[in-house]
């Protein structure tokens, strides 16, 4: 825990951090056959609150990040008890329908790594 706090302090010396360096888990998965959902989970409460309150994950920013229309963003929801942020977007096509290159939807999360979160 001490090392996590000092890491957070070290990060604060810079003006922003990548989501990759703040979150414990960043993952994507199907939620039903028509949605892909992203979970961004944090071990440290302060990092979760930092990202939750930073305003960098919104319906609009998510639409831009994944090159989809705002209407294809189903939701961006903070989950305090789970110390996580959930993002859900429509799939390009139903899971496993002809041509689907990622049936489980588990390799759609990488653009989230590079989201810049302002510190302090």
């Amino acid at each position: 825990m001490a090392s996590a706090q000092s890491q957070t302090a070290a990060l604060a010396a810079t003006r922003s951090a990548r989501l990759l360096d703040l979150a414990t888990t960043i993952r994507s998965k199907n939620a039903g056959i028509y949605n892909v959902t992203f979970d961004i989970l944090f071990d440290e409460l302060d990092r979760y609150e930092l990202v939750r309150d930073a305003g960098v994950l919104t319906t609009e920013s998510v639409a831009k990040l994944f090159h989809v229309s705002v209407s294809d963003v189903v939701g961006v929801i903070a989950h305090d008890a789970g110390q996580g942020i959930k993002i859900t977007i429509r799939r390009t096509r139903a899971s496993g329908n002809p041509g689907d290159p990622d049936i489980l939807g588990c390799q759609q999360h990488s653009p989230l790594y590079d989201v810049q979160v302002p510190l302090g």
């Binding site: 998965k29 949605n35 929801i77 989950h79 996580g84 049936i103 653009p111």
Partner: protein
């Protein structure tokens, strides 16, 4: 009874053999019921459409067998949902036949088994569609007569009620068709009179076994305990523990919304939940609520698209990679010219998955403009006529090997190959139904058949 203990053996029965040690540790704790979820819609429409369980028989039999012997030894019920992976009638019969086989091989004393079938006929669904009782789930297109015609198999996704009915009729082993994951574990506590909302929340966490514990381990068992006003979770592998965050975060898993969970006739709400660490490895949850909503049962359907043929080629030439669109278009044009009678979308489907360049994320790729030094092209062709699929895949692949584009320097072969071959893939299916049907009775989509299974000759 002060509490009821529910042991979840594995998150995916038969997908890989489960961890025997953590399951046995769970059995030593004297659970009141054991269960496992055998199915999912997660791997696409193939299993449902083709009506096949493609998990190795040996693994399915291992998981069912270890559970059955343990359950019969302690005289407790055993519950399997979404049998055979997609929960068709065939899946229920397949699992039941393995149960009978294990009973015979081990000379088990007679026990009462319930098969719960949930497959639906196209005629029934057509009737409900015309009666205005079918609705599309979010994201799905409206159901039409054409999509019903294009369906090979359809199942209803049942809630707890058919399971509770089977217990009322004396079932000691339940093998059910397609089910809400939570119902597999929630049904026995509900049958025994425990709170409905907490029972469903218990089932929701247990359906993936130890996935709600930390660190992640594959196929280890998880114990859930329900009391009057709380539920508790403890992983059965000594190297894992539950934390408030690990259990709370699991309510987000594979859900579009972290606080809401739909069941037939109800909306489970998690906003008011409290998650407390009660000892090093155990978390207690309180405060789950359940709101009644219209009684609708979800249905899933899938239908045949075509036989599937694959081809693989590699490209290293930077000029080809820089002219990739022209390179692939050359092969498409050649195909259209040679076989004008075969229309794409009607007679066949063709996909070029360019690995190394946007194959996985397609239009959603953030780095779409970057040119790699090497790519692999996976060609995927489907047609209801197997010869047409093979012919098109071969012509397209062979044409890629000699395709032309402006500014080319190399004039031998344009694509590297492992062998001069096409590969026959699994048949292609598509989802045809992801809808709900309004019903008056939660048992409307299920048929329960009771039988006595005995491993001893009469």
């Amino acid at each position: 009874m002060d509490e009821l203990r529910v042991l979840s053996a594995t998150g995916a029965l038969g997908a890989t053999p489960f961890d025997d040690d953590s399951f046995r540790r769970g059995m030593e704790r004297r659970p009141h019921v054991i269960g496992a979820d055998a199915g999912s819609n997660d791997v696409g429409p193939y299993g449902l459409g083709a009506n096949r369980c493609y998990f190795p028989r040996d693994w399915v039999k291992h998981d069912l067998g270890v559970m059955l012997l343990a359950a019969r030894e302690q005289g407790i019920p055993m519950v399997i949902g979404s049998a055979g992976h997609m929960g068709t009638d065939y899946g229920v019969d397949y699992h039941t036949s393995l149960i009978q086989e294990v009973a015979r091989e081990n000379g088990l004393a007679p026990f009462c088994l319930a098969r719960i079938y949930t497959e639906l006929s196209k005629e029934y669904i057509r009737g409900e569609l015309h009666a205005g009782r079918v609705e599309a789930l979010e994201g799905a297109p409206d159901l039409t007569d054409e999509t019903i015609d294009a369906t090979d198999h359809a199942v209803s996704v049942i809630g707890v009620e058919p399971y509770v009915e089977a217990f009322k009729q004396g079932a000691e082993v339940v093998i059910a068709g397609r089910s809400c994951d939570d119902a597999i574990f929630a049904s026995y506590p509900i049958y025994r009179g425990y709170d409905r909302a907490l029972s469903i929340h218990l089932g929701k966490v247990l359906e993936c076994a130890s996935v709600a514990a930390t660190p992640y381990m594959a196929r280890t068992a998880m114990m859930g305990t329900i009391r009057d006003d709380s539920i508790l979770f403890e992983p059965m592998h000594p190297g894992q523990r539950c934390t408030p965050v690990s259990v709370a975060a699991h309510s987000m898993y594979e859900e579009a919304h972290p606080h809401h969970h739909r069941i037939p006739g109800g909306l489970v709400r998690l906003e008011q939940c409290q998650f407390n660490q009660v000892d090093e490895r155990t978390v207690e949850v309180r405060g789950t609520t359940l709101e009644p909503v219209d009684l609708r049962l979800k249905i899933e359907g899938a239908g045949f698209v075509g036989y599937r043929v694959l081809g693989i080629v590699g490209v290293r030439d930077p000029l080809t990679i820089a002219n990739l669109d022209a390179f692939i278009q050359f092969a498409r044009d050649r195909l259209t010219k040679r076989y004008p009678q075969y229309q794409e979308g009607r007679d066949f489907h063709l996909f070029t998955h360019v690995y190394g360049k946007n194959a996985v994320m397609e239009s959603r790729e953030a780095l779409a403009g970057e040119l790699p030094h090497e790519i692999g092209i996976l060609l995927e062709v489907m047609s209801k006529d197997e010869d047409v699929a093979t012919l098109i895949a071969r012509l397209f692949r062979k044409t890629l090997m000699v395709a032309e584009y402006p500014g080319q320097k190399a004039t031998t072969g344009k694509a590297a190959i492992l062998a001069d071959e096409e590969l026959r893939g699994m048949d292609s299916y598509q989802w045809t139904m992801f809808h709900t049907v309004k019903v008056d009775d939660p048992l409307a989509h299920s048929r329960i058949e009771m039988e006595t299974v005995s491993g001893r000759s009469a």
